[in-house]
């Protein structure tokens, strides 16, 4: 057993039990080397499809804010479902994890079942991501150098229609607006004349492609690292230096007055191991980094929204006088937003410092040890900027009060910080007596997290500002017994306490039992040439989730500011009001989860690995605003109670096959996770109609009306009212071409009582990946696919791209199918329409949630393709190298998606800063 593996086992034991053959837990693991195959600034973007049971959904590609969303085993609660992340045995924030470099990472495991999570107690219910960093090995000094560089591009940009189509459709929209005014008739009353339309068409009119004005086609990405390691039996070292630079898509230079979006990251990790006096093993781990982010001085999401909603014909980038264009309706010229406002930057410093000391007391009794560890983790962010403003002009006149100013530098000022102190004390015992192998450990963990008033965990609930302290303790233990390498039994527990709950009522006990039967060690299979490993596992146990979106200290009765009452004569005296908030619940506690899991692990022919798991997660006591128990006569916000219930079930499977025929090696693999949840109870007030209930459906199931085409002219009387017998929409007057909905309860009205399930939640029920690789004579080739299915997308969530013209916004290709009837203009789409009639005003009927806007969102992406060549040993020896590999790779080069095909929307990042694809080449050298 290598030293690294030994350390891994030690550090994992207390929390996860043994990871070896006799483990009873459901855990999947990926190595840092596999993650390195995907060049990405953010480590979460290397995890797609790599870990069965971990669903990773891509988000924005904005440098520095490009984290993917991670969940384990589907969604188990409608409250907070964030998983918990540990690095080297201590909990870290999501931000700390995101900018670890893959070069620092030895492995990432996801702990999924009760057996694996038992000892995490009140923080285990949503699963745990367990990260282990690279350590030195007992060897001669080695130096590894890796560098790679490439270009990144947007996977997809959804561009609006140009000026001609905008004006053409706007004429329809504005004519439609006048329907009621024109005596309930469609009368053509265009805003744009034929001459203007012709000018747009032949290119003499204004037609600005804002995306082209602001973005460039591609942007560079670079990272490089240097890894030193080595050591002997007394001391080992692993030192990693890493640099990364990721630039944004904005077409601006990096200078004193402008800056592209970018992040530069400098990581330094030093993991040291010492053995001394035979009984002591010490570890000193320092993982520090600096992140420098810089952006144009304009809010990123607003910029992307402006790009999406500013029509092409509003003005040229600069007006005739050479000044930046801008109007009161469209004040923020996107081209000027990135070029004329200066830049803003943040500067982050992070350090995780861990110390671990183990004493082996074999001289007292063989296998006895004690372990003490502490971790200090600290982060600060400072901000600095150089800013300017610019005057807006239109046709030579200034349109707003903004004035062009010189660029001004701000001082650097702190904007965020946290520190996190954690301690772990462990007493353990490991011994084998004949056929009985026994190991046990008991562990005490204390955590003190202090964040800023605006910290991640401080946002919800009352008393913000005082919610900066988070104290948590956990006494845990595990007893693991193996009989004759065949039968394994384990008991684990956590006894956790959290300061979120009332003193005297803030601790919970979370036990788990599990067992495994290693069939391959039975006599009848021991000599079997096919079956190398066959193990059946089962576990059941309880965990908790102390972090609720409802906030902390729900047992406290808070009073909140509430309005002002004025008294007095001409000069009013304001008397500010104060009133009780929700009713305190002294018994409030953490939500709990009971997890069941059965699994099988097999290795056949020494080539084929199969793991499959079937699971169920029964959540209970979910912190829920109890709408149902109390009547309005109580006269106040109601109570948060531990009453919610959710059942989440699913299965996971992974298959990997490796073989070598002569010089030709190949591997194929696949994994799939399927999950399905159901809300069993959520204190929902019974709706008028049973079909409107959300209890019994999956979390996040979209609710809305059932669309059934568009109103036609034959549906209306001459005075514009609907013909007798047609249900009347309660959302405002309708006219021909408006969306028509089903009156499900036959009340004669279409209203909120007709709302029902209209599709599936956006979260995919099936998440899968498959990959293949070959190697021959120094060449290696890998391709990795990842897909998802079963989720639906609500086009209404991409308002900017789907709601044409409303609020002075833009128009996209989807609106080409709009219902319209102007026979004198040759326009008649009454029978072919695929989109409601256009309008320039907010329409409360057409843009409601309905089946019309719900679309299937299945997709498959090529996440990664890599081709590499490693120099043969003969050449290496001449160069004094142990390894030299060059490679080219492509990340996210291809996507198949119906949403992309039909609506030009990326399945995971439909709006805002797009997700990225990249093409990279690199070099990896190891010196001996």
């Amino acid at each position: 057993m290598t030293c690294r593996k030994l350390l891994l086992i030690i550090s994992m034991f207390v929390y996860q039990g043994a990871i070896a053959q006799d483990s009873t837990s459901a855990i999947s693991t990926v190595t840092g080397a596999d993650l390195y195959k995907t060049p990405a600034a953010n480590i979460t973007n290397t995890l797609y499809g790599r870990l069965p049971g971990l669903t990773v959904l891509q988000g924005s590609g904005e440098p520095g804010y490009d984290g993917a969303t991670m969940t384990t085993r589907g969604i188990g609660t409608y409250d907070n479902n964030s998983l918990v992340i540990y690095v080297d045995g201590f909990q870290v924030t999501s931000d700390y994890f995101q900018y670890l470099s893959s070069s620092e990472i030895a492995s990432i495991s996801v702990l999924k079942d009760a057996a694996a999570l038992a000892t995490f107690g009140m923080r285990g219910a949503n699963g745990v991501l367990w990260v282990v960093t690279k350590r030195g090995q007992q060897s001669k000094p080695t130096i590894q150098f890796q560098v790679r560089s490439g270009i990144q591009q947007a996977i997809n940009i959804d561009k609006p229609l140009g000026s001609y189509d905008y004006a053409r459709l706007y004429n329809q929209a504005v004519s439609n607006d006048n329907y009621a005014v024109n005596g309930n008739q469609y009368v053509w009353s265009p805003k744009y004349s034929d001459a203007q339309l012709a000018a747009y068409k032949n290119g003499t009119g204004i037609n600005v492609d804002w995306f082209d004005e602001v973005l460039k086609k591609s942007t560079p990405y670079t990272d490089a690292n240097l890894i030193f390691s080595g050591g002997d039996s007394t001391a080992k070292y692993g030192v990693i230096l890493d640099y990364m630079k990721d630039q944004g898509l904005y077409n601006v230079s990096n200078g004193t007055s402008t800056s592209n979006a970018q992040i530069q990251r400098f990581n330094l990790r030093s993991n040291l191991d010492f053995n001394f006096f035979k009984i002591f093993e010490a570890k000193v781990d320092l993982g520090g980094r600096i992140e420098d982010r810089r952006y144009p001085n304009f809010n990123g999401p607003s910029l992307w929204n402006n790009l999406a909603v500013y029509p092409s014909n509003i003005y040229n980038v600069k007006d005739a006088s050479g000044n930046w264009s801008g109007t009161t309706i469209y004040p923020n010229n996107p081209a000027a937003s990135v070029r004329a406002l200066g830049w803003a930057s943040t500067h982050d410093r992070t350090l995780q410092a861990n110390f671990n000391l183990k004493e082996k007391f074999d001289f007292i009794t063989p296998g006895l040890y004690l372990n003490e560890a502490v971790s200090f983790n600290t982060w600060t962010r400072n901000a600095a900027s150089k800013t300017a403003t610019y005057a807006r002009f239109y046709n030579g006149t200034q349109t707003t009060t903004d004035k062009t100013t010189d660029i001004v530098a701000s001082g650097t000022s702190p904007v965020g910080q946290y520190d996190w102190k954690q301690a772990n004390l462990t007493a353990g015992y490991d011994h084998t007596f004949g056929v009985h192998a026994f190991s046990a450990a008991v562990n005490y963990f204390a955590s003190n997290f202090i964040e800023d008033w605006n910290g991640d965990l401080n946002g919800s609930g009352y008393n913000t500002g005082n919610n900066i302290y988070h104290h948590y303790t956990n006494l845990s233990g595990r007893v693991h017994y193996v009989f004759d390498n065949r039968y394994v039994a384990e008991f684990g527990f956590g006894y956790s306490g959290s300061d979120n709950f009332a003193p005297g009522h803030n601790k919970g006990f979370y036990p788990a039992v599990s067992a495994a039967w290693i069939l391959s060690n039975e006599k009848f299979l021991q000599q079997n040439p096919v079956v190398n490993l066959l193990k059946l596992r089962a576990s059941v146990g309880k965990t908790g989730n102390e972090t609720s979106n409802a906030g902390r200290y729900l047992y406290q009765q808070y009073y909140v500011s509430n309005g002002t009452f004025y008294t007095g004569n001409n000069s009013f005296t304001g008397n500010s009001g104060i009133a009780p908030s929700y009713i305190a619940n002294p018994r409030i506690f953490a939500e709990h989860s009971v997890k069941y899991d059965v699994g099988v692990d097999a290795n056949l022919f020494n080539k084929l690995n199969v793991t499959a798991d079937l699971y169920m997660d029964k959540r209970g006591g979910i912190v829920t605003y109890d709408n149902n128990t109390y009547l309005a006569t109580l006269g106040t916000s109601f109570m948060y109670q531990n009453v919610g219930k959710v059942t989440n079930k699913g299965l996971e499977m992974s298959v990997n096959f490796n073989d070598k025929i002569g010089k030709f090696g190949y591997n194929i693999g696949a994994m799939a996770s399927y999950s399905k949840n159901k809300i069993d109870y959520q204190a929902e007030v019974k709706p008028v109609n049973d079909f409107s209930k959300t209890t019994g459906l999956a979390i996040g199931t979209p609710m809305g009306l059932v669309a059934e085409g568009f109103y036609q002219m034959s549906d209306f009387n001459a005075d514009g009212t609907l013909k007798a017998g047609l249900p009347v929409p309660a959302f405002g007057a309708v006219q021909p071409g408006d969306m028509k909905y089903k009156d499900l309860d036959k009340s004669g009205y279409i209203d909120q009582n007709d709302v029902t399930k209209i599709g599936n939640p956006s979260y995919p029920s099936l998440y899968y990946s498959f990959n293949a690789g070959v190697s021959y004579a120094g060449f290696d080739f890998q391709v990795f696919f990842q897909g998802a299915a079963g989720g639906d997308y609500n086009l209404g969530n991409s308002l900017a791209q789907t709601m044409a013209f409303v609020n002075n916004s833009n128009v996209y290709a989807i609106a080409n199918g709009a219902w319209a009837y102007y026979p004198d203009q040759g326009i008649d789409t009454r029978n072919t329409a695929t989109y409601p009639r256009l309008g320039t005003q907010l329409n409360t009927n057409n843009y409601r949630n309905s089946t019309f806007w719900i679309k299937k969102n299945n997709f498959l992406r090529v996440r990664n393709i890599e081709l590499g060549y490693s120099l043969p040993e003969m050449v290496l020896n001449k160069l004094h190298l142990s390894r030299c590999r060059i490679f080219v790779s492509a990340t996210n080069p291809v996507t198949w998606s119906s949403l992309l095909k039909n609506y030009n929307l990326d399945p995971e990042t439909p709006s805002g800063y797009p997700a990225l694809k990249s093409y990279t080449s690199g070099l990896s050298l190891s010196f001996k």
Partner: protein, 558 residues
């Protein structure tokens, strides 16, 4: 040895856990600290006032809010997206949310709870005298009575609470019969009036007075005497639950009680409260001051608000108010300045005729509206209120409401009169007439009518005079949240044909394309939309979500 040390360490950590997991020191307010000193208790008192008195105005400022005259036929319904649109034109009031009580049924009890919490905890305050505490308790009880009086009118019988509930109380409080609600209101008002001061020092003007408490009582008794409740046969048969929506018999003595209550209020207000009907002989200014000026002599209780959410739907400088326009149906209630009726043409007529006829209208009209192409009469020579500044877009309405903003300049504050002394006069006039005492009725009526610069009314026929008094309510109390309830409680026969339901008419301009800032050419009266009316709407529905919890009985027809 070392082992023992570590084990001890483990235990030591365990022992100090208790403190480790305690809530850190916090600066948030708890029940104990709220009621520790007078200054702090003022905040709780202020909140009780604000929540109780906001009834009927869009307090929570939902973007799709409305004002009640959007659904009474007085004003157009507002915008396509406001609740007023659905209620006025298509669905009427609905149990799924479209009710006139736009802050929501539940909010009544939020206000009541806050008042009771103050009442029950004020004794904890250490630096307040016993007599002051008694006054605070009386104020709170009067606020509860006000909220109940408004619920009584809108919903009929509602659950009656005499204290703040806790989660451990029996929360399944059913609707009380109308009679019980009425009796609770009158007894609470009597008890409060016995303790409340007649006047407050200047800085606290606006808090409950004796006259305000008596006004609450008078209003409740007036509505109890009106035909909707004062009957054994309710508007829709409710079987065994008839007692929730009517008083069980038709009793003329209820008018007597209404008269007594109104007279008691007038007497207290004028003799001790320093109140009077403002009449200096300049009708526009007098009526303008009475409805706009803070703490003027005619206001007995008001909802005072600095700039912000509450005024948005009333002030024509805010987009929320742009949808409000006067209907012809309501315009016709206003007299001409000479006391005769104005006639509006139903076929296209030159715009100059509009200017002539509108200039002929009575002072109260001019103090409440801005007409097309004319700078507001109630803010003369003020560009902020000029025709040019207030114009938004072309539309077909008779005029725009500018009431409550007499000589307002750019002020942001807004004072909504909850009770004016004038209401007690009309209370009394109406009740005297119903009792057959037309002479007494005319005395009270003419105080109001003549203050408006109009010639005295001399009609003595009971039925004719009833119509005249009702018309006076319309004109005097436009936009003060009376009309919608008045026409329902009078059971006006034309409620479905020209008041709430039926053709809602406006003046239309420029070949019906809408009035312009200048250059209007012609106008005519015509139907703008068909108003929705169904008899179930005499009372509001309770929210379906509350009904579904199983304790309340829904009003009939919903």
């Amino acid at each position: 040895m070392k082992r023992i040390v570590y084990i001890l360490l483990l235990f030591a950590m365990g022992a100090c856990q208790k403190d480790f997991l305690q809530l850190p020191i916090s600066n948030s307010t708890t029940t104990d600290s709220v009621f520790s000193t007078t200054i702090k208790a003022q905040s709780a008192i202020a909140n009780a006032y604000q929540r109780a008195l906001c009834q009927g105005i869009p307090y929570q400022s939902y973007w799709n809010s409305m004002i009640t005259d959007n659904i009474s036929g007085a004003l157009t319904y507002g915008f396509a997206w406001t609740w007023g649109n659905g209620i006025a034109t298509s669905t009427g009031l609905t149990a799924s949310g479209n009710i006139e009580d736009m802050d929501g049924y539940a909010f009544n009890f939020t206000a009541i709870r806050q008042a009771y919490l103050v009442k029950e905890n004020i004794d904890k305050v250490t630096d307040m005298s016993g007599s002051d505490k008694a006054i605070v308790k009386a104020e709170m009880q009067a606020l509860v009575a006000y909220r109940y009086e408004q619920m009584f009118i809108m919903y009929g019988g509602v659950p009656v609470l005499s204290k703040s509930l806790t989660v451990n109380d029996n929360l399944s409080v059913p609707r009380a019969p109308l009679k019980e609600v009425l009796d609770s209101i009158t007894s609470w008002c009597d008890a409060a009036a016995a303790v409340l001061p007649s006047q407050w020092p200047a800085t606290f003007t606006g808090r409950m007075t004796k006259a305000a408490a008596l006004s609450i009582k008078a209003k409740a008794l007036l509505y109890a005497a009106r035909p909707l409740f004062n009957t054994g046969t309710p508007y829709l048969d409710f079987g065994a639950n008839n007692g929730l929506i009517c008083l069980g018999n038709s009793d003329p003595a209820r008018w007597q009680q209404a008269v007594l209550a109104a007279e008691a209020g007038i007497q207290e207000a004028e003799q001790n409260g320093g109140a009077k009907i403002i009449n200096t002989g300049h009708p526009l200014d007098d009526y303008g001051a009475a409805t706009s000026t803070p703490s003027n002599a005619e206001v007995l209780l008001a909802f005072k608000s600095e700039s912000g959410s509450m005024n948005t739907f009333f002030n024509m400088h805010n987009w929320q108010a742009y949808g409000n326009g006067l209907t012809t149906n309501y315009l016709e209630f206003y007299y001409k300045a000479d006391g005769t009726n104005q006639v509006w043409p139903t076929s296209s007529t030159a715009f100059s005729d509009y200017l002539t006829r509108i200039q002929d209208m009575e002072p109260r009209f001019k103090a409440s509206f801005k007409a097309w192409e004319i700078d507001t009469w109630n803010n003369p020579n003020d560009d902020y209120w000029s025709n040019k500044t207030l114009f938004q877009w072309q539309s077909n309405v008779c005029a725009f409401p500018v009431k409550f903003y007499y000589k307002a300049g750019t002020r942001g504050w807004f004072e909504f009169p909850v009770f004016r002394l004038a209401a007690l006069y009309l209370n009394a006039a109406e009740a005297y007439n119903e009792m057959g005492q037309s002479a007494n009725a005319l005395i009270k009526l003419n105080v109001i009518h003549q203050r408006a610069g109009l010639p005295a009314i001399t009609e003595t026929d009971q039925a004719t005079l009833r119509t005249i008094i009702q018309r006076e309510w319309a004109v005097e109390f436009f936009d003060e949240n009376y009309w919608l309830h008045d026409i329902k409680h009078w059971k006006r026969s034309d409620i479905g044909n020209g008041l709430i339901g039926g053709g809602i008419r406006t003046l239309k301009f420029n070949a019906q394309t809408g009035g312009k800032q200048t250059g209007n050419t012609d106008y005519e009266d015509g139907v703008l939309y068909q108003g929705f009316w169904a008899p179930r709407q005499y009372l509001n529905p309770f929210p379906q979500t509350e009904i579904n919890k199983g304790t309340l009985i829904q009003n009939p027809g919903y």
